[in-house]
């Protein structure tokens, strides 16, 4: 009877107890997955926009804090950058927040909510003729194909036209339905951005996160008009390098030639900066990190309680095993195998539940959660570690089993 077989027999024998323990582990697993999912969502939020923009180097204001507080810099910096050796082109991107007049909709419980509620929406302005060069196209791109990007260019050429992110939160309205509303509205149905007339002419795919709940795309002119920002300033400069140019070298070159009101980042740098900001400097990142630790601690305590109670009940049996002549490592092995099996029993349903909750969080919460092999394996290892930690705490009790008490 190997320790693994005995551990298995113990768990299978006490099915109800094992089910409860497994459920406890599963609960901890779900908690960890959710916290990690949300944390991942924060990370994805941080880089979501940059992942969908095409650039080798990114020019931002030197006052840039994070993607939601970019500050603007003179458009002239783009021309200066464009002149630098190794730079192929620099494209402007405008990015700001506007108000959105929400359409009529139904509440969570089917209750009607009238149109007119004002919401915060992000607006990104790009030169329509460069739209396929600004955004990533294709699978997982902002546009499914170059053709769709080119069609979007046509759609955004007229004034006051916008494309809407299909993955905007539902309360902002359905992009397809909103396209049916003419510029001047139709009855109660009307589209207003910053209180100005607007028309949704198409859609794109970007996604929401902790920074924004919905996104509009428009031309630079419309952007300027709607946000009342001068066209002489931009928020990002997307630097495309000539083939063979070293991004680090060009970055240094740009930093040398550009005035100090702007700074230049490589993609890695801006992504790292965003993640650091969101995960380390914002309260939400810290909260979620603490929540992950708490979930693990809760899991350890729960599993420990279950295992300790189980061991307490079985102390005479363990004492008998000692009396038979088994050495302490055997009993340690039994308890630790039991812990690992519990981890597996709990992980599988926890994983499945987390997949469902991720879907809910993504679809209904607009939080870009996603299961990855790395996170699944990571949580599996963490769960095993959590249960093993509980087992190691509980195993002390096994060693208190005194065979002398059997007589």
């Amino acid at each position: 009877m190997t320790p693994l077989r005995l551990a298995w027999a113990n768990l299978v024998h006490k099915r109800t107890r094992t089910f409860i323990a497994g459920a406890g582990v599963a609960f901890a697993v779900v908690l960890v997955f959710m916290e990690l999912g949300l944390l991942g969502g924060v990370g994805r939020t941080a880089t979501m926009l940059y992942d969908k923009l095409q650039f080798d180097l990114l020019v931002t204001s030197s006052e840039y804090l994070d993607v939601s507080r970019t500050d603007a810099f003179p458009r002239a910096r783009l021309a200066q950058a464009r002149a630098a050796e190794g730079v192929d082109d620099v494209l402007p991107v405008l990015f700001n927040v506007a108000t959105w007049r929400a359409p009529a909709r139904e509440g969570l419980f089917g209750n009607p909510i009238p149109a007119g509620e004002l919401m915060s929406i992000n607006v990104i302005g790009v030169p329509p003729d460069q739209i396929d060069r600004v955004f990533v196209t294709g699978k997982d791109g902002v546009f499914a194909s170059t053709e769709e990007a080119r069609a979007a260019r046509e759609k955004l050429t007229p004034r006051d036209t916008f494309l809407m992110d299909r993955r905007s939160k539902p309360e902002f309205g359905d992009a397809t339905k909103l396209q049916q509303i003419p510029l001047d509205g139709k009855g109660d149905e009307i589209v207003r951005v910053n209180g100005q007339r607007a028309r949704i002419v198409g859609a794109f795919e970007l996604g929401t996160g902790f920074s924004w709940n919905a996104m509009l795309m428009t031309s630079e002119e419309t952007y300027s008009r709607v946000t009342m920002r001068p066209l002489g300033t931009v928020n990002f400069g997307l630097v495309r390098l000539k083939p063979g140019a070293d991004p680090l070298v060009v970055r240094e070159r740009l930093r040398a030639v550009l005035p100090p009101d702007v700074t230049v980042h490589t993609r890695t740098e801006i992504n790292a900066q965003e993640r650091r900001y969101w995960l380390r400097l914002t309260s939400i990142g810290q909260f979620l990190l603490v929540a992950v630790v708490l979930a693990v601690v809760v899991g350890v305590i729960f599993v420990y309680q279950m295992m300790a109670a189980d061991i307490r009940n079985m102390l005479p049996e363990y004492a008998t095993v000692k009396a038979l002549g088994y050495r302490p490592p055997y009993l340690t092995g039994v308890v630790l195998w039991q812990a690992v099996l519990l981890a597996l029993f709990g992980f599988v349903p926890g994983f499945v539940a987390a997949l469902g909750l991720y879907r809910v969080a993504t679809d209904y919460g607009g939080i870009p959660t996603g299961m990855t092999i790395e996170s699944a394996l990571g949580v599996l290892v963490l769960t095993c570690g959590m249960c093993l930690a509980s087992g190691l705490l509980a195993v002390r009790k096994v060693h208190t089993a005194d065979p002398a008490d059997l007589f």
Binding site: M1, N10, H13, T320, V321, Y326, P328, P403, F407
Partner: protein
């Protein structure tokens, strides 16, 4: 010793004249002449256990522990399987430190069935746990024979790892079965089997046979088929069935030492008998006829239980190895009646350590003597207990055992004079019961030693001089190496006074005037 006849000293042991053994002390005594030899017993040899002038050694001849021989699994002949020496034990520390065992010494020979008795709290369980390596030995020595190593394992000042090695030598039977609820009967037994290293054989078959013998297989006592309990978990077994599985678990590795706490408490008569018979058979082989007697009808068996015919060959198979020693704490009379040794503890001390065969041997020997025959059995027992040394009469006494029990047994090499005719009796004079060996009895006739008889185990001599308070009337010399139990003068006189009326009548036979002496 003083001379029985101061005028006819006999300084040298007289050479034998070649006469045959006198068959009875009474014959020698000569009812008319008052010349009863001091060396020869008075009682007829028809007393219980006395055959042909010697006492049998009832349990040993029947059970044949000596027949275990020098198995490689057993200690050298005459050596115990378990030695306990000067064991003290304390519970608690500091101010609460309390001594619970006091200088306990015990030796248990291979194949003995030892009953530990005593009131609750007397320390028997603590001693058992120390022997089993379940507690750390604090003071004293315990040694357990390791058949695999061919040496003793000491339990003093050893690591936990070494204690575990000792535990593996022992089969533990607990009153509470303590089976793993999650494992079947077979799996519970496999838990123990797994520890038997380098073993060959069919583990499952071994466990099945043991369980079948213990009536958990596919046959019941009446040979009817039944659903076996091999794959039942404890929850699906009765208390008695669980206990039998626990017993099988303890015995499956054929340990040479079994420590058991009320092993038959939860068992019905038939199961209890099966267990007890198994323990006996593991101790030493029993004649088939003895076992056959246990196959009987329910009416005949009564509360003593019975075995089925089919169990006998299985018993021989599962108990093919012998020499297993069992230390059992029990109040079950079925086991107590079969004990080879009864160790009684009181207040942390071994108050008595009685080898049953030795006690029977001594009592039967004493009963031959008129000096003791008349006193109550309890009084006889008291005398017997004062000379017992805790060694089976078939086993020679070792010097250390003599030293541990001073004055109880004396050893004479062949040719040595045990007592001499004419030696006066005094406070140091003794009465003797032959334990082992043969003595020759001589009396001077016309100045020449005449051999009166030879006496063997179970015969006594030396009481006449003590009774009559006169010198020894014969010379007794060891024909072989002789071990004799010695009852000292003080003890003799003490019990003599108890049986005074009878002794007076006896004395009348020895006095010319026939009247009692004051």
């Amino acid at each position: 010793m003083s001379s029985d006849d101061r005028n006819t000293p006999s300084p040298q042991p007289p050479p034998p004249r070649g006469e045959g053994e006198k068959t009875s002390g009474a014959d020698v005594a000569g009812r008319s002449g008052g010349t009863q030899s001091d060396a020869v017993g008075l009682a007829p040899l028809s007393e219980e256990g006395v055959v042909g002038g010697t006492l049998g050694s009832p349990s040993r001849t029947a059970k044949g522990v000596g027949g275990l021989g020098s198995s490689p699994h057993l200690p050298p002949p005459g050596q115990p399987v378990l030695r306990v020496g000067g064991v003290n034990h304390y519970f608690g520390t500091g101010d609460t430190r309390t001594q619970v065992l006091f200088d306990n010494t015990l030796e248990v020979m291979p194949g003995e069935l030892v009953i530990m008795s005593g009131p609750s709290g007397s320390g028997k369980t603590t001693l058992l746990t120390l022997i089993g390596g379940l507690r750390t030995l604090q003071e004293g020595e315990i040694e357990v024979w390791d058949a695999g190593r061919g040496d003793y394992r000491k339990l003093r000042d050893v690591s936990e790892d070494e204690l575990v090695n000792v535990r593996r030598l022992i089969g533990f039977i607990f009153q509470r079965h303590n089976l793993f609820d999650s494992l079947t009967a077979m799996q519970n037994i496999r838990m123990a089997q797994r520890l038997k290293e380098n073993d060959v054989g069919d583990y499952d078959q071994n466990a099945r046979e043991l369980l079948t013998y213990l009536l958990l297989g596919e046959k019941d006592l009446t040979s009817k088929s039944q659903k076996s309990k091999f794959y039942n978990k404890p929850a699906a077994l009765s208390g008695g069935q669980r206990q039998r599985v626990a017993i099988a678990r303890a015995l499956v590795n054929r340990p040479k030492l079994v420590l058991a706490d009320e092993p038959t408490a939860a068992l019905d008569a038939n199961s209890g008998l099966a267990v007890v018979t198994l323990l006996q058979e593991l101790a030493r082989p029993r004649p088939g006829a003895d076992l056959q007697k246990l196959v009987r009808s329910a009416e005949e068996a009564g509360e003593n239980g019975r075995l089925a015919e089919w169990q006998l060959p299985l018993l021989k198979k599962v108990a093919s190895e012998h020499g297993t020693t069992s230390l059992i704490v029990t109040h079950d009379a079925r086991i107590m009646n079969l004990a080879d040794r009864i160790v009684h503890m009181e207040r942390g001390r071994i108050e008595s350590n009685v080898v049953v065969a030795e006690r029977l041997f001594v009592r039967a020997g004493l009963r031959q003597s008129p000096a003791f025959a008349a006193i109550l059995p309890e009084e006889q027992e008291k005398i017997a207990d004062q000379v017992l040394i805790g060694v089976h009469p078939d086993e020679p006494v070792r010097p250390d055992q003599l030293a541990a029990n001073p004055g109880r047994v004396r050893v004479f090499e062949a040719g040595a004079v045990v007592m001499r005719e004419g030696d006066p009796v005094n406070a140091e004079s003794e009465f003797y019961l032959i334990r082992r060996g043969t003595v020759e009895v001589f009396r001077a006739v016309d100045g020449l030693p005449e051999k009166l008889t030879e006496l063997g185990p179970g015969r006594y001599f030396g009481e006449v001089a003590l009774l009559m308070d006169r010198p020894r009337n014969a010379t007794v010399r060891a024909a072989t190496r002789v071990e004799v139990y010695a009852v000292n003068r003080a003890t003799f006189d003490k019990f003599r006074s108890v049986s005074r009326p009878f002794i007076d009548r006896v004395l009348a036979n020895f006095r010319p005037d026939g009247g009692p002496r004051g």
